[in-house]
Amino acid sequence: MPLTRREFVGGLFVSAVATRVLADEPSGANKQSAKTAAPQPAEGLKPNLFVHVGSDGQVTIACHRSEMGQGVRSTLPVLIADELGADPAKIRIVQGDGDKRYGDQNTDGSSSIRSHYKELRKAAATARQLLIAAAAVQLRAPASELTAHDDAVWQGKKSISFARLADAAGKLPVPKPDAVELRPESELIHCFKDLPLVDAKPIVTGSAQFGADVTLPGMLVAVIERPPVVGGKVAGYDPSAALAVRGVKKVVQMPQPEAPWKFQPWGGVAVLADNTWAAMRGRAALKIDWDLGPNATYDSDAYAKELSKVVHEPGKSARNKGDVETALKSAAKVVEAEYHVPHLAHVPMEPPVAIAHFEDGKCEVWAPTQNPQDAMKEMARVLGIDEDKTTCHVTLLGGAFGRKSKADFVSEAAWLSREVKAPVRVQFTREDDVRHDYYNAVNTQLLTAALDPKGQVTAWRQRTALSPIGSTFTGADQATANDLQQGVTDLPLAIPNVRAETCKAPAHVRVGWLRSVYNIFHAFAAGSFMDELAHARGVDPVDNLHELFGPPRIVTLEELGVAKLPNYSTQLDEQPIDTGRLRAVIDKAAQMSRFKERKGRALGIAAHRSFLTYVAAVVSVVRDARGKIAVDEVWLAYDAGLVINTERARSQMEGAVIFGMSHAFYGGATMKGGVTEQSNFNDYRLIRMPQAPRSIHVAQVKSGKPPCGVGEPGVPPIAPAIANAIFALTGRRIRELPLVRAGIV
């Protein structure tokens, strides 16, 4: 059927989207479908937000965490189904809206499994206990004789289906958490293996719904020209040329943020149009005079030189054991090296986007957000309304890596929707994304070690200067204990004298967290320096790691030389620093790669604990036809404790290798005059298919310990393993990233 413009509403297509019902996908295309997709009808059993057993026996499970490629939608619902006794193949999965009753929804810090493992099982076990109680009445049998599996409650071979129990169970009082018992882990028969990828089919057929795929009737698309320098202001602007572009409806000046920046709208001028292309063209036609402000002097190369000076002076003590300075003075040999890693950008393939509709004092948002509750808080703040007047539906996230836990793009959309009295989609272009990111901290470190006459390491001193995330929220200018636990204060070292110091590094851009965060550069420096020590000592790199990390043991705070350790918000006695686990992944990676028989191959190794998970990586590098460095094979061993979905854990590790390679080869957002010099994938480069290793081998080392993180810990050891392999190939030591700046890739 021919379609003409007459049939369009406001130039944006709506009708097909409006009729699509998204029962099994993240929440909907419009208000109608979002309501259709509301998780749980009233009948049946619904003891909490996570589980609903319908009168027809249909089990519906809410995934309250955001899906960004880590596979959380293919994993958490299976855990819940398994604890409940439902067949995971038959469950219906709905995406949870932002709702405090879920508890924490901030999909960040590699915490979805490790922080929710027991709580989600408890939610499921509550439902199971009620189904069993209802069955006990019907069967006239004691509950202790009954079990739940395959969507039914069983007494021996006799069973009653969940369908026949749900309504009765739904009328029983919900037991308190203390009165609910979990199954033994051995009864979780669907977990701890490769699980099906529930979103694969919608993704490969184009029906999966990401942020920008949501369209509301009457919606305008906004593209915003933000201040080129953080803190810059609009001095004046001329909207006339923008308004002359066909499709452009409005030009609006955005509110001016005040430091600290937090997640406030960035300021600037928005162009709103009835389609994205018109909004982009309209923005290009805008004329704006900027008052750039004090950050317009920021030059990242000059700043790196400042940091280099700073780390050559004593900093504030962050960790201290023994007497490093005396040991250094009496050393037979001192080894010292300085490392630098620039700001890094997130560049998820889906640039930030959010759809907001403000109406009658309420604001409803659809967004690919990692943190819907924080998005609601920010919307409420920017609009001056109560949080209970806000709604946040979570779509699929087209990559996030920490960028989408910042609510800036949501608060921009919310503010604009109220301003123009229409639904608004704020669309970041790729240039906006690269230039207006919450970059990972820039970092310089100085590492210094003392060797005795026998080549034993007697002292280790690590000075780190990083522009902290706190700068974005409080104006902080140096690292906190929480920052330094990422590879400085938690680094196990069997060395008698150890000291770490933090130095000042005020930020001139918005700084945020990027997948594995400060671990990226702390592991790069420590992992590279350990290899430098191996060569200085004339010891094989694997043996050297074993000697520096020391024998298998639980590392105490006293040994670390710290009063306390945040330990990723986990009790140290539950998830201690265990060098035995570190040793096991090193040995596994070394064995897989035949590291010790590497004759003729250039291999580098590095190992790092982050997010409670232990990872060792071995990288093989070669020269390609042009004489440049290429990574041809990678072996990675990880111990993340209990892993519910081994397939998604493996895919996360594979992806982490490529992510780490991108940082090592090309990562670096640089600023001149306070303006980010990069703008798109031509100058913020990523690894492409021809550069991907021939093979990535991933091995899980099973320790049987409680679940640890999976999404981030694969990243940190990659860059140092690459640098160490380059040393093995060329004899050249890489102390600054990215490699492209040295001209070797």
Binding site: L3, K201, G247, W277, E350, Q427, V698
Partner: protein, 161 residues
């Protein structure tokens, strides 16, 4: 008015002839399977077929599609069971999934011209398609599986410790 065929259906579009095919598909026709990633033909997320050739729809004006046929991910196979789509599911290729429509459309054009590609052919063909999640080794393996080729040695392996 621009007359064209999209996924086998005829349309007359009254839009700015300079509007890129991407935005005509997404904003005008409501076909959101094709993704915006860069707007500069640098990432391949927007890849569609114009007749039998792949184009970066973010940089190709709709006027170029006049009288021609556009195929998007939604129209690659009526059942969603193109051998590439099957292989992508079998090997659990996607992570976030945002780039995968572009990867599959590029790979589909490759296999249509070259049913038994070498590793180098696959790498060359897909060099313009970025994946930030890093699914490249699985994409290689899935293209080979769809082509009926042995997957070693690109397949990522799992070994138990």
């Amino acid at each position: 008015m621009i007359s064209l065929t999209v996924n086998g259906k005829a349309y007359d579009l009254d839009v700015d002839p300079e509007m890129p095919i991407l935005w005509a598909l997404r904003d005008v026709l409501g076909l959101t399977g094709t993704k915006y990633g860069c707007g500069q033909a640098l990432c391949g997320a927007c890849t569609v077929h114009l007749d039998k050739e792949t184009v970066r729809s973010c940089c190709t004006p709709i006027s170029r599609a006049k009288g021609r046929s556009v195929t998007t991910i939604e129209g690659l196979s009526p059942t969603g069971n193109h051998p590439l789509q099957k292989a992508w599911c079998d090997l659990a290729v996607p992570q976030c999934g945002f780039c995968q429509a572009g990867q599959i459309m590029t790979a589909a054009a490759l296999l249509a011209q070259n049913p038994k590609p070498t590793d180098a052919d696959i790498d060359r063909s897909l060099a313009g398609n970025l994946c930030r999640c890093g699914t490249y080794t699985r994409i290689r393996a899935a293209v080979k599986r769809a082509a009926g080729l042995p997957e070693e040695p690109t397949r990522s392996t799992s070994e138990e410790g």
